[in-house]
Every structure is written in structure tokens, then in C-alpha cells.
Symmetry: C2
């Protein structure tokens, strides 16, 4: 199958590009190195030493496996680029990771909020128009986030909910309560994609993904040059990955606030499996479907405890510490989210209890000298805009 990977230079995008390439698909990856530039802006970097650009990564891939990954360097906000890539490659599936992915980054200030929403919404609109005009039968596999739902006091369903109200009923989009301008940009995307499916008959799968953890895939292990990026800083690092890194460098495990925040999590190996299942089982014409893509729920306190225990086994001593929560979110709440649709398609989860966290420690120890420790603790505060005012 011809599979276009948008954001193919990222943590998941590069891993996905190699995964599909190795399974015999024709893969073309697009990226504008936004993540690399944001790290430069912030004085941070990937823990793993990734090659300098996509052409170098594709060359290394070719040397190791003999397989080709096509590459385009460019910005999805550039309609000319999106139109050209889609016209020339004629994808059958488009896996869309190509967005600004950080909640804290979107909350730094007005410029970052506006950039986040413009970049993500316009990029996705361009993809939708290119599909409608050029490949209306292709399948969009869009990475959304479980964060679109927030933490409602009812069970979270997969994208839609049957509502009974005043003697009538309808199946309607699940209400969204996103927690940052980044998460809101994904909500905007979801509405735009759903609309494009309704009016143009496009096919789309919106993968509302949980928090991904893990540092290796079968493909990254083939050669050190094929390693995927790994972020642990306050802007791009996520809870479990960050805790593991903190354990390795002897930094306290920083839980924000009370630590009762519960979310869905999944292993990077399951991200690859889920995206593959979505691609190989496309929706019907005009269908917009939503899969909640995670395998287990944990609270922050539970994760910290799991990492502390694994670290102890590994001979590392580290303790959880509660820091002031930079976000505005519930720290103790009900959380129960459905996630059966991918299991029904055949997902076989790699559960955290079966994961060798200690093997993650070992990989991290290899790159420990690259850690920039003063960029781990949170500095971006959700109410920062108000505080700036108070300080004047």
C-alpha cells in the first residue's frame, strides 16, 4: 500500500515509517523539522542522538535494510507542498502525525497558542482539501489525543455517545473538554475532519491516543542510526518516559499536584500495531470513526510507584515528589474510557506489567551523558498570562 506519513521525523512518525516500510509498503515521509526547531528554541534536545535530517535517516534505512523511504522536507501549512506531495505520491493511506504536539508549548504565551492552533488546523485543512481534490478514496489516519475529552464524570466512549434526552435519542459526538490550546487544536481538527467526511465522503480514522511510552521498536534496534527521538523535557516529555529518565539520572519523580490525574497509556509498540490495524481496516466511504488508542489507565501516583519499584530492582534509588501543578486540571477525578474497537480489530497489547522497564533504563543509561537536567522541571504555567499581569 502507498502510505504517506506526515510528521515522519518525529518520535512516532519515524518509527511508523520504518515499521510500514519493513512490512512491504511504499512509504513517503514528510516533515518540516518543527520539533527540532522548537527544541533549539528551548535549549533542549532528544535524549537519543538522531541523524540530522530525514534524507540521512532514509539513507541509513536503505543501507541497513535495502528498503526505500521517500522523503519530502516541507510545511503542511504550505498548500503548494501538500498538493504536490499528494498528487505525485497518490497515497492510499495518510497517517497524520504532522502537528505541534505539546500542551505546555501551546500555553507559553499568545504567540505559541496562536501558532499551535494555526499550524495544526491549517495543516489538517490542507490535507483534507488535497484528499477531496486528488485522492477522495484514500484513508486519513489522524492522530488525535485522549486529552480532547478531558475528565468528564461519565464514562468516555470512542468518539460518539448515544444520548437519551426528553424522550428522544441520537448518537452524537462525545462532548469535548480539552485542557490546553494544543488539545483544543485537536478538537478543532476532529470537528473539521468529521465535517469533511460528511460532505465529501472522505474516509477517516481519528485515533484518540493516550500517552505513549517506550524508547525502542523492532526497527530502531536494527542499527543505532535508526534510533527514534526521545523527549524528557518539560515541553515534550510525557509522564512515564520522563519518570524513567528521572530515575536514571537520580532526579526525583516529579508528580504535578496531588498526582491523582488518571490517563490512558500505551507502549510505542502498540502505537505501531494500532496504526497498522487502522490502515489495514479502512472505514467505508464517508465514515468518520474514532478509536480510543490506549491499553491501560494509570494515575500519576501509580506510575511513579511502578517506576520507583522498577528502579529499585535495577539498583537505582529514587523517590516521587509532588510539585506545584503548572496546569489547570482536576487532580482527583473519575476516569473510565472505552477502548475496545482496536482490540476488536486484533490489537494484542503490550501491558506495562509485562514491559521490562529496566530495559528502558539500560537504553537511557547509554545516552545519560546527553541529558540536560535543568530543562526537566515545569516552568510553563497555565495561568502564566494572568501572573504576568499581576506582576506589572
Amino acid at each position: 500500500m502507498r502510505i504517506l506519513i506526515l510528521g515522519g521525523d518525529g518520535y512516532l512518525g519515524w518509527a511508523t515509517s520504518m515499521y510500514f516500510s519493513r512490512r512491504g509498503h511504499e512509504v513517503h515521509a514528510v516533515d518540516n523539522y518543527l520539533r527540532r526547531r522548537m527544541h533549539e528554541e528551548n535549549g533542549t534536545d532528544s535524549l537519543t542522538p538522531i541523524l540530522p535530517d530525514l534524507p540521512s535517516r532514509a539513507r541509513a534505512w536503505k543501507e541497513v535494510t535495502g528498503l526505500e523511504i521517500g522523503v519530502t522536507e516541507g510545511d503542511l501549512q504550505d498548500w503548494g507542498l501538500v498538493e504536490r506531495v499528494v498528487r505525485e505520491f497518490e497515497p492510499e493511506a495518510i497517517v497524520h502525525y504532522g502537528e505541534m504536539p505539546s500542551a505546555p508549548y501551546s500555553m507559553i504565551d499568545r504567540d505559541h497558542a496562536v501558532f499551535t492552533q494555526t499550524n495544526n488546523v491549517v495543516g489538517t485543512l490542507n490535507v483534507l482539501f488535497a484528499m477531496a481534490e486528488l485522492v477522495p478514496d484514500a484513508h486519513l489516519v489522524k492522530l488525535g489525543t485522549m486529552g480532547e475529552y478531558g475528565t468528564p464524570n461519565i464514562d468516555i466512549e470512542e468518539g460518539f455517545i448515544e444520548i437519551h434526552h426528553k424522550g428522544r435519542s441520537d448518537v452524537l459526538p462525545f462532548p469535548k473538554l480539552a485542557g490546553s490550546f494544543y488539545h483544543l487544536s485537536k478538537v478543532h481538527d476532529s470537528h473539521n475532519i468529521h465535517f469533511a467526511c460528511r460532505i465529501w465522503g472522505l474516509r477517516a480514522t481519528d485515533l484518540n491516543q493516550g500517552v505513549v511510552y517506550g524508547i525502542e521498536t523492532e526497527e530502531t534496534k536494527l542499527d543505532e542510526r535508526l534510533v527514534t527521538r526521545f523527549d524528557y523535557d518539560e515541553l515534550f516529555g510525557t509522564a512515564l518516559n520522563r519518570f524513567c529518565l528521572q530515575a536514571v539520572i537520580g532526579h526525583p519523580l516529579t508528580a504535578y499536584g496531588k498526582g491523582g490525574q488518571t490517563r490512558g497509556y500505551l507502549n510505542i509498540l502498540d502505537t505501531l500495531q494500532c496504526v497498522e490495524l487502522a490502515v489495514l481496516n479502512p472505514p467505508t466511504e464517508g465514515e468518520y470513526r474514532v478509536f480510543n488508542q490506549f491499553t491501560e489507565q494509570f494515575s500519576i501516583n501509580e506510575l511513579a510507584e511502578i517506576v520507583r519499584e522498577a528502579a529499585r530492582h535495577h539498583g537505582l534509588t529514587v523517590e516521587p515528589v509532588h510539585v506545584e501543578n503548572p496546569r489547570v486540571e482536576l487532580e482527583e477525578h473519575y476516569y473510565n474510557a472505552a477502548h475496545t474497537k482496536l482490540l476488536d480489530l486484533g490489537l494484542r497489547p503490550h501491558l506495562l506489567s509485562e514491559t521490562l522497564i529496566e530495559s528502558m533504563f539500560s537504553v537511557m543509561e547509554r545516552y545519560k551523558h546527553r541529558v540536560i537536567p535543568d530543562r526537566i522541571d515545569p516552568r510553563t504555567r497555565w495561568r502564566g498570562v494572568l501572573r504576568e499581569r499581576a506582576a506589572r
Copy 2:
């Protein structure tokens, strides 16, 4: 009260500016003449001959009433402009009409869709950040649209709905099923504004307004130079206003499709009353409230019949005609939307049955020579992007 009117040059914005000014408030109007430029682009114009710019309109207002309306010409996408206006004027209420308001315009092609969403989302983000940084106690009165809800098969509530699900319940945002990239931009705004209230404690009223009709207000009648704009073309004209104009020029009343499409409607006099009620009764700190702002529901066929009958009384013969629907929408559907919150605040509706449609005819007849008849019928098709492809 110091009231900032964004989009103060528009159909409702100019009428609202005069309305508040005459009632003793300090009014400042901002506009970048986007609507005027879009009409130039499309070869259309307001039926009514409005003065060439906001300063001229404010001067005429001063001459007629002795009252001042402050004016800033500029774009809400320009952060420097928004920041300066809010800092200098220090509004207590911000009435935000300043968006691209046309569903068909947003559906012309990719450029128009991207422009619509960027213009509306970025302008509103700028307003929210300016409020948070400079006037966090001010009250945002944002014009949304009933079109955000679409036509669900259950009763539409005012912004939020109590959902009972699997033995639990929560009050959550009412699910949205917007019908154009324009309507979607308003959905995006609603989510962003709700979030800003939650995290920054801002106060906002989201007025999900129905279709407005009417050509005069108490203030516009004071002097011909104070007339507000009136659109009847395919892009900016709305159902009832367009039907009245069609009756006056002897053009068949063009119902799209089967004509069973039902929506909420209100008189322009009630728009002014509703906005005033919202401004004078602000929400509490951090409260995001939604009012469904309309007074009556009609189907397109009912409206056409009402206009045909009024025209007959007025000595005009005109017949409804069904044309191919350029939109993708249900043409027969359930529709029952709550609209009690503004009534509870004291709204006294001007119902259509009590409105002298014939007086609208008379005003229109005065400007009949200005009509551009070949810009009335719909040319923008929701599936146009696909057809262009088929034609290649």
C-alpha cells in the same frame, strides 16, 4: 459602561454601536472592513447605501445625536492592534461580532476555508489573551450561531446538556455538528472561550444566534446616513431578508432543496435587546454561559409562504421555487431548540407575525435601483471541490 464593539461596521455591529451610544454608554467600534472587501471581491454590495467608512459614520452619528462613537480601523488578527485598543479603552464589556460571517464564502474553496478559520480563531484568541492580560474582569459577549449545533435528533439545549450514561451523569457541552467551515470556526471559538473561562477566570456569554431579519432600528431611522448595511446576495444574504428582497424585485423566492430546513429566527431589534441584556447581566468570574438567541422557529417553506402572503397584501406577486440545494444538510428533520435564558432576563420578543413585513418592502423599494440581481442565486456548492476534480 465602556463597551467595545468588534466588527462595528457590520449589519449588527453598527446598529449595536448606535444602540449602546444612545443609551448613555461609552462606545468604541473596531472594524477592518473585511465585509466591504469581500463584497468587492464578489461584485456585490449592500442594498442600503452606507457611508464609506467608520469615521464618516461616527461623524454623522455625532451630527445627528451629539454623541461620540470612538473608532479604530484595523484587523483583530493583528495582536498589536487588539492589545492597544484594549489597553487604551479598558472595556468593561466586549461585544464581538468581528468575524467572517458567511457559510457559503467559507465553502468557496481551500483559500476561503483556511482564511475563515484562521481569521475567526486567531482574532478571538487575540481578544481572549488581551482580556486575560489587561482586563480580566471584563465581560466578553461573543456572537456565535445556532448553526453550531446542526440538526440533532434531540432537543437542543443552551450550550450544555445533562447526560445520564451508564449510571453516572454530568453536565457537558452540547455536542456540535456544524454545517460549514464558517460554522465550524464558531465551534472552535466556543471551545477556546470556554477553556479561557475555565483556566483564567474570564467571564463570557456565547450568544448562539439564529437568523436575523429586519432592515431598520430606532437609530437607523434617525437619519438616512445612519442606515445599516443590508445583504441579499448568495454569500451574505440570509433566508428571510433575501426572500423579502426577492419579493420586491419580482424574483421567485428561492428555497434550497425541499425547504423543510428549520432554524431559529429573530428580529434585528431583538438582537439589540438580547446583546443589551447580556451586557447588563454579566456572568460571574470564570463563568462561560451560552444563550440561544432567537425568538421563533420556521422552516424555509413556512417563511416563503409568509413572505408570499405579505407580498400579495402589498400588491406584489411572487411565488416560491425550489432550487437544487447547494449545501449538504438535512432538508426534513426534527428541530426543537431551547431559548428561555434571554426571556428569563427580560427579553420581549418582536414576533414575525407582529412585524410589518410590508414596511420592510417599503424600505427596500427605496433602494431597489441598487439591486444586483445576478448575484442572488447560489453558485457556491458544498461539494464543489469534488466536482472540480470530476471535471478534470
